[in-house]
């Protein structure tokens, strides 16, 4: 039964807290499944104020996430729920302390629930501890991990790299040289993306050789410089996987000017990546649909607050976007269904 499953999940969470928390190894469920188990979103009593803290609005990904929160706030209000969501972010991805300040401020201001996307795995832990003291529910929205949050909402990060690896290996017919541009080895997501890619190749595509793997610190220009050098050093290079789209777009510039036919795959699904795919420059990106992710996260938070039994990990949709589906509607790709309200 669904209830039984959730309770075992909770008990594993107990032990997980003292061991390493890794959502990829958890028994997560998807939102559709959650909805079918728990039904419509319960009616919200009274006024509810939610606080959402993103990593950094400097990055398009997080601005889109914010948009999702706002969209869902609208939907809630349209359905007669008095819910407001305040969305803020830290000052850049190096501002761990600042992000913590924001969370503490929200706790001081007695927000009713928190949706947090931490910069690093640890920086919001003290805030979450404070929230627990005030019994404020905390939902961890990817990609930093909060071991002591109530629920994790996000895509399966390792699958992200796997999707890319699978696509590349199919395109290449299972053989050829590939390279990886890593972001900063700071975020869980960056590491998992790389690991997922490597693991898939090792397990399923022995003909593909990862010839190079270097950091570009999420920087477009550094990624381009890396690719410039690689393209010369490995004349047979067939594909480059990048930990995010910004770097992938830098790599695309290098590939374009080399005149070679090298596949470039990014991660995030930012608008510019879609454009580039349409133009036939970038080959693919793995979109984790922040616009919907934040809506799901909010839905999960409300369910949690109304006392429903929510499992520890909720997977959000992600999909590989290439020329075949770039014109498709996102809702169609992820088979999005609007939530129902009580």
């Amino acid at each position: 039964s669904p209830t039984g499953e959730t309770s075992t999940d909770n008990s594993t969470t107990e032990t997980q807290e003292s061991a390493v928390f890794n959502p990829d190894e958890e028994q997560g469920i998807e939102i559709g499944q959650l909805r079918s188990e728990l039904g419509a979103i319960p009616k919200i009593e009274g006024t509810i104020k939610l606080g959402a803290v993103a990593k950094a609005f400097e990055n398009e990904y997080w601005r889109t996430l914010k948009e999702g929160y706002e969209v869902f706030e609208g939907k809630l209000q349209a359905n007669g729920n008095d819910v407001t969501i305040d969305v803020t972010s830290a000052q850049g991805e190096g501002d761990e302390q600042g992000q913590l300040s924001i969370v503490k401020d929200m706790i001081n201001k007695d927000y009713d629930g928190l949706l947090l996307s931490p910069i690093s795995d640890g920086n919001l832990v003290p805030g979450v501890e404070d929230a627990a003291k005030k019994s404020i529910p905390v939902v961890n929205v990817n990609d930093g991990l909060i071991a002591n949050a109530d629920v994790f909402v996000g895509p399966k990060a390792i699958q992200n790299g796997e999707l890319a690896a699978e696509w590349i290996s199919n395109k290449l017919g299972g053989e050829g040289q590939v390279a990886i541009v890593i972001g900063m080895p700071k975020a869980f997501a960056a590491r998992q993306r790389t690991a997922g890619f490597e693991q898939y190749i090792a397990a399923n595509a022995s003909g593909i050789e990862i010839v190079a793997k270097q950091n570009a610190d999420w920087d477009r220009s550094k990624a381009k410089d890396l690719a410039d050098t690689w393209i010369k050093k490995y004349p047979d290079l067939k594909a480059i996987f990048c930990n995010n789209d910004t770097m992938a777009l830098g790599v695309v510039e290098a590939v374009k000017s080399s005149g070679k036919d090298i596949l470039v795959v990014g991660v995030d699904g930012i608008g510019e990546a879609y454009d580039s795919i349409r133009k036939g420059e970038l080959d693919a990106t793995i979109d984790s649909f922040p616009l919907y992710k934040s809506q799901i996260a909010t839905e999960v938070t409300l369910r949690l607050m109304s006392g429903q039994n929510v499992p520890r990990v909720i997977w959000t949709p992600q999909a590989l976007i290439d020329s075949t589906n770039v014109e498709m509607n996102a809702e169609e790709i992820i088979s999005w269904e609007e939530p129902t309200f009580e």
Binding site: S18, A19, V20, A56, F57, E58, D86, T88, S89, A90, Q91, G94, E96, Q97, G98, L100, S101, I102, K104, D105, N108, K109, S120, D121, G122, N123, V125, P126, A147, M184, P185, K186, R191
Partner: protein, 322 residues
């Protein structure tokens, strides 16, 4: 009373600035003035404050240290590794301090003995230390720092005052005494103000310089420990860009980047002021992008006020003697 006034006249500017800042934020949003929030501000300035304490020593001696962020990362990952393997926390703390001393000492050696310019020597070492921090863990964070250590460095003492604040206060006090009442401090001012004259007075300039960097390493190590305890995770990428914040705190607190001038209390309040500003902007819900602008403007205004205050003092002195 008037004596105290005079004694701390150097720090007066920054204290007044801090009070004004708090008052302004408090008027706009009373929540800002709650004890919990004010305590939080201090608590959150501990890391930057500890780094700034060490950097103040170095800057007074006429140097600069850009490695603090990277050194901190090394301390964090090494201590984290040992703690997770069950090393006694006290031993781990001693180990951490020793690492800080060593890393700082290397900087000091390059600068004092090999005569490299402080900016460029520590710029290079910043990169070297970061690489080492990554190598220690292979880039991965050290997870699940034991809670006894976390409680030790970041628990509550007597259920009220966070122990990290106590560490911060003790470090400030030690720094204060070092600068004001111990030879070493006199030598730092003296070296920063006129290195040649100090050398000719028979002071071992090289040794004192190395000590300044080594002690900066120690306070960096303390900052690292507190961060490790606060976050419960030791990341090799921790502390990136922290060096500039720490320098800003020292400068806002009245430390002159050309050396020879500065006080520990100034730095202490400087670190708190920067955090009070940040928290204030958050409490007011100021847009992130505007926060960048506000932070920069406040740094410049604070330092400018310090210049104006100095000018005013000189002017008053002239009036008196005229």
């Amino acid at each position: 009373m008037k004596n105290i006034w005079k004694k701390f006249s150097r720090e007066l500017g920054i204290i007044i600035a801090l009070l004004i800042l708090i008052a302004v934020f408090g008027i706009i949003e009373p929540l800002y003035l709650t004890p919990a929030n004010l305590l939080d501000i201090i608590d959150q300035s501990v890391i930057n404050g500890l780094l700034a304490i060490g950097i103040t020593l170095v800057i007074i001696s006429g140097g600069i240290d850009l490695t603090v962020g990277s050194s901190m990362a090394i301390v964090i990952v090494v201590m984290g590794n040992f703690l997770v393997r069950g090393l006694h926390p006290v031993v781990a703390i001693i180990l951490g301090i020793a690492i800080g001393l060593l890393l700082g000492g290397i900087n000091g050696f390059l600068i004092a003995k090999m005569k490299l310019q402080p900016f460029i020597a520590t710029l290079g070492m910043m990169s070297v230390y970061r690489g080492i921090a990554y190598l220690v863990t292979g880039g991965w964070p050290v997870l699940n720092i034991p809670s006894y250590f976390r409680n030790m460095m970041d628990g509550d003492i007597g259920g009220v005052i966070p122990s990290s604040i106590v560490i911060f206060l003790i470090a400030t006090a030690i720094g204060f005494v070092l600068l004001k009442y111990v030879k070493f401090g006199t030598y730092l001012y003296s070296i920063g103000s006129n290195e040649e004259a100090t050398l000719l007075s028979g002071v071992n300039v090289d040794f004192n310089k190395i000590m300044a960097y080594a002690l900066c390493g120690v306070s960096t190590a303390l900052a690292g420990m507190v961060l490790l305890a606060k976050l419960g995770t030791g990341e090799p990428a921790a502390g990136q860009g922290y060096e500039l914040n720490a320098i800003a705190a020292a400068a806002v607190g009245g430390t002159s980047l050309s050396g020879g001038k500065g006080t520990m209390l100034g730095t202490f309040f400087g670190a708190i002021l920067l955090q009070a500003l940040k928290v204030g902007l958050v409490v007011l819900g100021v847009d992130t992008f505007w926060q960048y602008i506000a932070t920069g403007v406040i740094i410049i205004v604070a330092v400018y006020l310090d210049i104006v205050q100095e000018k005013f003092k000189t002017w008053k002195l002239i009036k008196q003697t005229a």
